[in-house]
Structures are given as structure tokens and as C-alpha cells.
């Protein structure tokens, strides 16, 4: 018994403090949780709304669609459906991941309702070199995707980026990153199309 007393004498502060701090943290979390969740949702929604401008709300069309990224690796991603105020589906959007120059690149890609035309893509997260690969977020590059056909895209070093077709002109000095985006695109788009077809959505 003496030992217990000794222990309490020595450590009561830590024990009490950890309990109180635990509560404090949990209470804060509980009260802000809705906002945090909302923020997360908003982020994706905002990006998607950026591409599908008319969309009013988004909901998951296919949950955990399995995408084969090559080398036998399977990735799960949600396919969202963009809804107009009247409930009409405007298009689909999904998060795609692949390796860039330095690290993984996470994109949000949006297509039209038939998955035939691309509305565009936005970078959700990337770690490309500033001044080099970081240029994949610039309009020069992203605009080429707006309206591009949702088929296998081709990369090219030369050409006119203003012409919207399946040819994507690389950013000079960041060929690797530019190619990476296209590669991610190509890997995902066909399989997404297939998933949507399986679900009978297109």
C-alpha cells in the first residue's frame, strides 16, 4: 500500500494533467469536428466545382472503385457525380494519384457525363520542384485539358498548346512532370470509364 501512496505522491500531477488535457483536446475536437469535416468536403467540392462550374452538389457515384495502377498495385478511389440544382447529373469527378518527378501527384479530374470529354484537372497535392514541376498548376498547361477527349492522351514537346486535342504539349524544363500528369490521366480515365459502365452509369 505504501508503494501505491508513494506512487500517487510522485505522479499525481502527471496523471491528473493527462486526464484533463485529454478531455480538453477531445472537447475541442468534438466542438470543431463538423467544421473540419466540412472543410475537407469543401476542398474537394470546390475543386470539382471549379471544373464543373454549374454543379450544385456532389455525391458519391461509385464508392471505392478499384483502379489498377500497374505493377499489380490496386488503388481505391471514389467517383463523384456532379448534380445540377434540378438533380441532373452534369459529369463525374475523381481523385487520381501517380508518381511525379519528386513525389506523388494527386489530381482531381472531371469529365462530362459520358466520360468522353475532359472538363479539366486540378492538382490536389504535389511536391514537384518549385519553378520546375510546380508549373503543372499553371494555366498554360491545365488549359490544354479543358475539352480534351477522354481517351489516351499523347505528350509532345512541340506544338501549339492552344489547340485542344489529344496532344498535350509539355512544359519545357518540366517534361517529366508534364508526362507524369498525362500518365496518371491515361491510367485512370479508361478504368474509370469501365467502372462507370459496369455500374451502368454511362
Amino acid at each position: 500500500m505504501l508503494k501505491v501512496k508513494h506512487f500517487i505522491e510522485q505522479s499525481w500531477l502527471l496523471i491528473v494533467a493527462s486526464f484533463i488535457f485529454g478531455l480538453l483536446v477531445a472537447v475541442t475536437y468534438a466542438s470543431w469536428k463538423p467544421r473540419i469535416d466540412q472543410n475537407e468536403k469543401d476542398k474537394l467540392n470546390n475543386l470539382m466545382r471549379f471544373m464543373i462550374t454549374d454543379a450544385n452538389s456532389f455525391e458519391i457515384a461509385v464508392r471505392d472503385a478499384e483502379i489498377n495502377t500497374g505493377k499489380g498495385k490496386i488503388l481505391k478511389t471514389n467517383i463523384y457525380k456532379a448534380l445540377y440544382t434540378d438533380g441532373r447529373t452534369l459529369g463525374y469527378a475523381f481523385v487520381a494519384v501517380g508518381s511525379g518527378f519528386a513525389d506523388k501527384i494527386k489530381l482531381v479530374i472531371a469529365t462530362d457525363i459520358h466520360c468522353e470529354k475532359v472538363f479539366g484537372f486540378k492538382v490536389l497535392a504535389s511536391n514537384e520542384t518549385p519553378g520546375f514541376g510546380s508549373k503543372i498548376t499553371e494555366d498554360f498547361y491545365t488549359n490544354q485539358f479543358k475539352g480534351a477527349p477522354a481517351t489516351e492522351l499523347i505528350v509532345s514537346k512541340t506544338g501549339d498548346p492552344e489547340i485542344i486535342d489529344d496532344k498535350i504539349i509539355t512544359i519545357s524544363g518540366a517534361t517529366v512532370s508534364s508526362e507524369a500528369v498525362v500518365k496518371i490521366f491515361n491510367t485512370f480515365i479508361a478504368q474509370i470509364k469501365q467502372k462507370l459502365e459496369e455500374q451502368g452509369l454511362i
Binding site: 520546375f132 519545357s172 524544363g173
Partner: protein, 339 residues
């Protein structure tokens, strides 16, 4: 009584050799490469070389002034650094970038460490690395040499317009071959042009023959020893050779590797920078092999077409460790700990 008698420690005579003569030798050895640069890149070469030298001199003067140190231009090392930096720049780089790079090379690459002899990294490569990191685009634009492009644009044009005639270097071709876009023999065929220098690339690296003349001069004058160049070239050759044997369609031939890019300039003029290379012969071999290996690693596996600069900087970083590892052993062996 004997006011004009001076006393100092032995020895009282010395070899007629000074830092200045050593540096001057290297500058002389670079003359053929500079001439080649002027032949192939005309005004570009001249302006870049001059800008580099002037900036280096001014930067060094300012640094010395701030530190209240005597003028150290006399040892010519700043000028040599400037020349080597200039020779490793692409012809079409705008002059303001040259100024930034040179100032960075001298101030951050050399003077902050205490000036000549104290710097850890090769100043010229520090300057180049900073430029590459900052202005990647400008550093990868390769102008077609004047000898095969009679309407070589003038400087003012090039700064403004992006449509100077450019040309893929053999190493860019090599990268394409690695990705299976073309056959490596396309790059291998450029070797003849590379020998004279009629090819895209940095100012000083294109002409193999000019570099070899300079190298021979340095070796004859005993300004450098053969260890480092040999180690760099042999190790690069072996790596490239193994890759070539595995798949000659994807990997360019070892000889092409040795004659293109900055390999020769690096082996004879940059890796041999005494300040940033190991002191001992054994260390020099390790250093050289390391440089060769990293260059080939970057050229073959890495994302960049060329890796000379990074190889040099990385090996510079480990030079103190190499020196520690390759400590010279006195002729009488290492004495027992007891005595």
C-alpha cells in the same frame, strides 16, 4: 648592425612556383577550349566569358574590401573560376543570369568560406548549380553552333525571343533512347561532331579535341596528376560499358558518354580542382571513381540528362571524409599507441 639581415625558419630556398603560376597554367590550358567556344558560338562565347570574368573580379574585390583583406586577385583563381563557369554555361543564357551565377559562385561558393583554398565546394559548379536550380529553362537551351547555322542570332535577339535555333544534345538523345523513343545509335552517330565541337552544348564542352590539347598541356606541365582524370574516365567507361553491353539500343556507347556532355572538361579541369579534391593519391582515386559513378548513375537512371555538376558537388561534400579515410601512413608505419 645587420639591419638588412632577415631571419626565418628553414628551408631558406624554394621552388620557383606560386599559386599564380599554377592557376595561369590552367588558364593557358583552357585557351584552346575558349577558342573553340568563340569559333562555334561567336559573340555569345565572348560576352559570356567577359561578363563572367568581370563579375568575378568585382565580386572578389568587394568581398575582400568587406573583410578588409588584401586584394587576392593576383592569384588568378577568381578568373579561373569565372572561365570555368563560363565554359559550363549554355550559349544562349542571358547576361543578367551570368552575373547572378558568377557572383553567387565567388561570394557564396568561395569567399564566405574564407577565400581561396578554404571552399568546400567547387565554386564554378556552385554557381552553375544555383543557376540550374533557379533558371532551369535558361540552362537547358542549346544553341546550334555557328559553323552549321550561318544565321546565328545576335545576343540581343536571343534574350528576347525564345525561338533561337536549338538542338538536342547527344545526352538529350540518350535520355530519349533510354525511354525507348529513339535508337541509341542516333546519339552515337553524333560522336564525330562532338570531336570537333560542331554540336549543341555548353560553351566549353563541345570540342573534344580542344579539351584534350589543354589536358595534355596540364599533364606535361605537371600542374595536375593523372589520377583523378583517369579514375573519372575509367569508372564512367565501365558503368557505361556494362549498360551498353546489356542493351546497345537503349544505352549509348561508352565512348559517346566520354566525349559528350561535360565529361572531359570535368575530368581534366573541374574534378582536378585541388582545393576541393582529396589530398592523397588513394583519395584521388576514390574521388574520381565516385565522380564517374555518380555521373553515370544520373545519366542512366536519374531524371537529368547530365550529372557532372551534381557528381562534383556530391564528391566535394565527402572529400573531407575521404581524406580522413585515406590518411597517409608514414613510411615507418603507424607507431604503437603505447609509444
Amino acid at each position: 648592425m645587420l639591419e638588412n639581415i632577415a631571419v626565418s625558419s628553414s628551408p631558406h630556398i624554394s621552388k620557383p612556383l606560386s599559386t599564380r603560376t599554377v592557376m595561369l597554367d590552367v588558364i593557358i590550358a583552357l585557351v584552346p577550349a575558349m577558342i573553340a567556344a568563340v569559333i562555334f558560338f561567336r559573340l555569345y562565347a565572348v560576352t559570356i566569358l567577359l561578363t563572367c570574368i568581370v563579375t568575378a573580379v568585382i565580386t572578389e574585390l568587394i568581398c575582400n574590401h568587406i573583410r578588409k583583406k588584401p586584394n587576392s586577385l593576383g592569384d588568378l583563381s577568381a578568373i579561373l573560376t569565372a572561365i570555368l563557369l563560363a565554359l559550363s554555361l549554355p550559349p544562349a543564357i542571358p547576361l543578367w543570369a551570368v552575373i547572378i551565377g558568377t557572383a553567387f559562385a565567388i561570394a557564396i561558393g568561395k569567399m564566405v568560406f574564407g577565400g581561396l583554398g578554404a571552399n568546400v565546394f567547387n565554386p564554378a559548379m556552385v554557381g552553375r548549380a544555383f543557376l540550374t536550380a533557379s533558371f532551369g529553362m535558361l540552362m537547358t537551351t542549346w544553341t546550334v553552333p555557328a559553323t552549321i547555322n550561318p544565321e546565328m542570332p545576335t545576343i540581343t535577339e536571343s534574350v528576347k525571343s525564345t525561338d533561337i535555333r536549338t538542338q538536342a544534345t547527344p545526352l538529350a538523345k540518350s535520355k530519349e533512347a533510354l525511354k525507348g523513343k529513339i535508337n541509341a545509335s542516333v546519339a552515337n552517330n553524333l560522336i564525330k561532331d562532338a570531336f570537333t565541337g560542331q554540336i549543341g552544348g555548353c560553351l566549353g564542352e563541345t570540342s573534344t579535341i580542344a579539351l584534350l590539347i589543354g589536358a595534355a598541356y596540364l599533364l606535361i606541365r605537371k600542374t595536375i596528376t593523372i589520377h583523378i582524370p583517369l579514375a573519372v574516365l575509367i569508372s564512367a567507361f565501365i558503368f557505361a560499358g556494362v549498360a551498353y553491353l546489356i542493351n546497345p539500343d537503349a544505352y549509348i556507347s561508352p565512348l559517346t558518354h566520354l566525349t559528350t556532355g561535360g565529361m572531359l572538361l570535368c575530368a581534366f579541369f573541374i574534378a582536378t580542382d585541388p582545393v576541393t579534391a582529396p589530398l592523397t593519391t588513394k583519395g584521388m582515386w576514390i574521388f574520381g571513381i565516385g565522380v564517374g559513378a555518380i555521373v553515370m548513375l544520373i545519366r542512366i537512371i536519374g531524371e537529368y540528362p547530365e550529372g557532372i555538376m551534381y557528381a562534383i558537388l556530391l564528391m566535394n561534400a565527402v572529400t573531407p571524409l575521404i581524406d580522413r579515410l585515406c590518411r597517409v601512413i608514414p613510411v615507418g608505419g603507424i607507431p604503437n599507441a603505447k609509444s
